[in-house]
Amino acid sequence: MAVKIASSRWRVWHRWLALIVGLQMVVWSISGAYMVFFKLPFIHGDHLVHQHDAVIQHANHVAPFNDVLKAYPEASQIQLTSQWLNHQWQPVYRISHHGMAEIVDAQSLAVVELSQSDVQAIAEKIYALGEQPASQVQWLTENPPSELNPDHLPVWRVDFDDFGSTSLYFSPSTGELVTKRHTFWRGFDIMWMLHIMDYEERVDIESWLLRGFIIANFIFLITGAVLLVYTLRKPKPSLKTTTEGSA
């Protein structure tokens, strides 16, 4: 004790940096561990829905593409696919024009208007976690929840009362599944927010707040590394831990 220990200055720095910036290191490790532990397809909710590649039914009654193009001469893209309607897979044309999309019956070329119950039926058909009715169907036009990109508005939100509080979002014009959300995605989103330190938009990774903490934690790590070298080269734990007798 009489001689000042050279490593103690590093230890003081290490402790103060731990308090000021090191807590973010803990946040990084917890949020990073969350993102690493849960597999990305699970986070994306791939297990929530069936992949449906229904074969086109009534192929002989489906109108040719040419007829669709005559009805929609401005179409930039036309897709023949199947949609779950009236308790069956029905062939439909999905038509894109001027950046918008709609679906028409592939036989009559009549526009298909999807009702709330149609969307609910589609959701329940593709939902993969057991046979259960949706707990809630909402029509969202403004003030989207933070988990939804506002570009998707207006949108149908179909909720299921399950372990992960699943929400499926559907396009009102085509009945396409826009996105899927559940508790672990929401947790991932919060962890991502904590990881990049953008507590509002959760997208900006270029903030000086983040950069400052990274630089400071770099210095913090160096002080720890120096202490590690000191401890490993020391043949014996420090003074206080060695107690011998008086005799």
Partner: protein
């Protein structure tokens, strides 16, 4: 618990520190670059024209349905300026030229123009290279296609799929650097940017232990006040830093009771450890343990032991007394009139190097002889390593390996483990000791025997593991045969050749004391912690008055 956490923090950091460094560096690279810079899409433009489909087609539904089985979807779109069918069926995906009805094919010239249509930068095409198996720069694309190199500041290259005519990806130099950062950050060097594989999960577990142990240790430091910049030294730290003679065996833990100081005037209220180690009258006299109180301007403090000073000792003899105990004999170098009382101890200042740091260890050893000779004799028990991962005691190892002529500094004398010489004390003197506790008891017994005015009878109970560990056995046997004392050596290990007492020394002593009038005894105890504790509770149980018991604590 905290020692375990320190150990854990140290070892997990050793395992993971390089990766944490890589995470910090690659994370900083991400933060500096930003999403767009790393995407490879600096010169990428999307087609937002929504140009209408061309109407001339050689092929239409339902002829398409006749060419494939199990069709689940057909997509009519424009590639370049040519309409194309994308048919998804049982055997995969097929691309058809809608104008000719043939399978789609992409020429080099077409690949170049398709690539250019998605390029918004200043460069021109440098070369178009056919590829047979995609590119390692595009994860998951192993199909035939083209690499279109653009001569620009970013070394842009555009990959085009031959079967579909689709522009797969733009790549450039910043993307390549970012890709390396992703490899480092995700610990995935395959280029797949997968961050759920076993290696990084393991690293995550280690990192969690590493940071959480650090967090708990930090909380402990905060709770202890280690980080309070206004925190003062304790008086023990203060006196040790000043090289003042102050005794401590436990290093400031408040458990050895040696670092007594006297407060005058303003006396701080006693702590729990003060109360445990000091008597009520000591406390009322202003005595406190110096390790329990912090330096403050309002205090007036004296070190209780005033005779003590620092002297230099020269080793004149180092002999092995028993397999585990050395006897060291020194001559004082700096003082000719050095004096002490039997039962006291010296605090040795043991120089020690730990890494680059010079540290002085404080170790206390009692005098093993009564005063009156020029030499000072000590017994030192070599502390073995408690386990293989730990080295033996630094202090005792240093002392036992000293050679004749070597010198060492020591402070003393200190301690109040003295003979009870109050007036008209004719009580029987009972000494109970074990192992290395021999030294102060031997000094006290010698002093009692030499004392001219005292004629008190002496009982000495001494325990050791086996016969070879009985220190000074022959000396005490000789004194016994001269009927100057009653010597009761006790062995705790089984020994068929031993015809003396066996068992624990405090039990043998108890058997004898119970035949005596407990009011007519003075008891002195010194030995290892377990033996000391057992003896103290034994004496309390059979009713020996507290003021007739004196003991010397090893201070552990």
């Amino acid at each position: 618990m905290m020692r375990f956490l320190q150990w854990l923090h140290r070892w997990t950091s050793l395992i993971i520190i390089i990766q944490v460094l890589l995470w910090i560096i690659s994370g900083f690279y991400f933060s500096l670059s930003g999403h767009h810079e790393m995407s490879g899409h600096q010169y990428h433009q999307m087609d937002h024209s929504h140009a209408p489909l061309a109407s001339s087609r050689a092929l239409d539904w339902p002829q398409i349905a006749n060419q494939f089985s199990g069709i689940s979807g057909v997509d009519l779109r424009t590639v370049g300026e040519v309409p194309q069918y994308v048919v998804t069926h049982d055997d995969g995906v097929s691309y058809l030229n809608a104008t000719t009805g043939e399978l789609w094919s992409t020429s080099e010239a077409m690949a170049a123009s398709l690539a250019l249509a998605t390029y918004s930068g200043p460069g021109a095409i440098e070369s178009v290279t056919p590829l047979t198996e995609g590119s390692s720069e595009v994860n998951g694309w192993r199909e035939p296609g083209y690499r279109v190199d653009i001569r620009d500041d970013l070394n842009t290259r555009i990959y085009v799929d031959a079967a579909s005519g689709t522009v797969i990806e733009h790549r450039n130099t910043p993307w390549l650097l970012a890709d390396w950062a992703f490899k480092l950050h995700f610990m995935d060097y395959s280029g797949e940017r997968n961050f759920n594989h076993l290696l990084i999960v393991s690293a995550g577990v280690v990192t969690l232990w590493f940071t959480l142990s650090g967090l708990i240790l930090l909380g402990r430091n905060l709770a202890r006040g280690d980080m309070n910049p206004r925190r003062k030294q304790t008086y023990l730290e203060f006196y040790q830093a000043q090289q003042q003679p102050i005794a401590s065996a436990c290093g400031g833990g408040g458990t050895c009771g040696l670092c007594k100081v006297r407060f005058r005037g303003l006396v701080p209220s006693p702590t729990k450890n003060d109360r445990a180690m000091l008597t009520e009258s000591d406390l009322n006299d202003g005595l406190r343990l110096s390790c329990q109180h912090r330096v403050s301007k309002g205090h007036e403090v004296d070190i209780a032991a005033t005779d003590a000073r620092q002297i230099k000792l020269k080793l004149v003899h180092n002999r092995v007394l028993t397999p585990s105990i050395h006897e060291l004999t020194f001559l004082p170098q700096t003082e000719s009139d050095f004096n002490y009382q039997a039962g006291q101890f010296m605090q040795f200042l043991i120089p020690c190097r730990t890494g680059n740091d010079a540290v002085v260890l404080h170790r206390n050893y009692s005098f093993a002889t009564a005063p009156g000779q020029p030499e000072l004799t000590f017994t030192v028990r070599k502390m073995p390593a408690p386990n293989t991962s730990c080295e033996p005691g630094l202090g005792s190892t240093y002392l036992c390996s000293m050679k004749t002529g070597d010198t060492i500094d020591a402070i003393g004398p200190m301690g109040d483990f003295l003979l009870n010489n109050e007036a008209a004390n004719e009580r029987r003197q009972v000494f109970i000791g074990g192992g290395a506790g021999i030294a102060p008891l031997r000094a006290l017994i010698q002093a009692e025997l030499e004392s001219a005015q005292s004629n008190r009878s002496i009982q000495f109970f001494y325990g050791a593991r086996n016969k070879s560990e009985l220190c000074y056995y022959d000396d005490f046997m000789a004194l016994q045969s001269e009927e100057r004392l009653q010597y009761h050596p006790v062995l705790s290990e089984q020994d068929d050749h031993w015809r003396g007492l066996s068992g624990f020394v405090h039990e043998i002593a108890q058997a004898w004391i119970q035949t005596q009038d407990v009011q007519s005894l003075d008891v002195y105890v010194c030995g290892p912690p377990a033996m000391l504790a057992a003896t103290q509770s034994m004496l309390r149980a059979i009713g020996v008055p507290q003021e007739h018991i004196r003991y010397d604590d090893f201070g552990i």
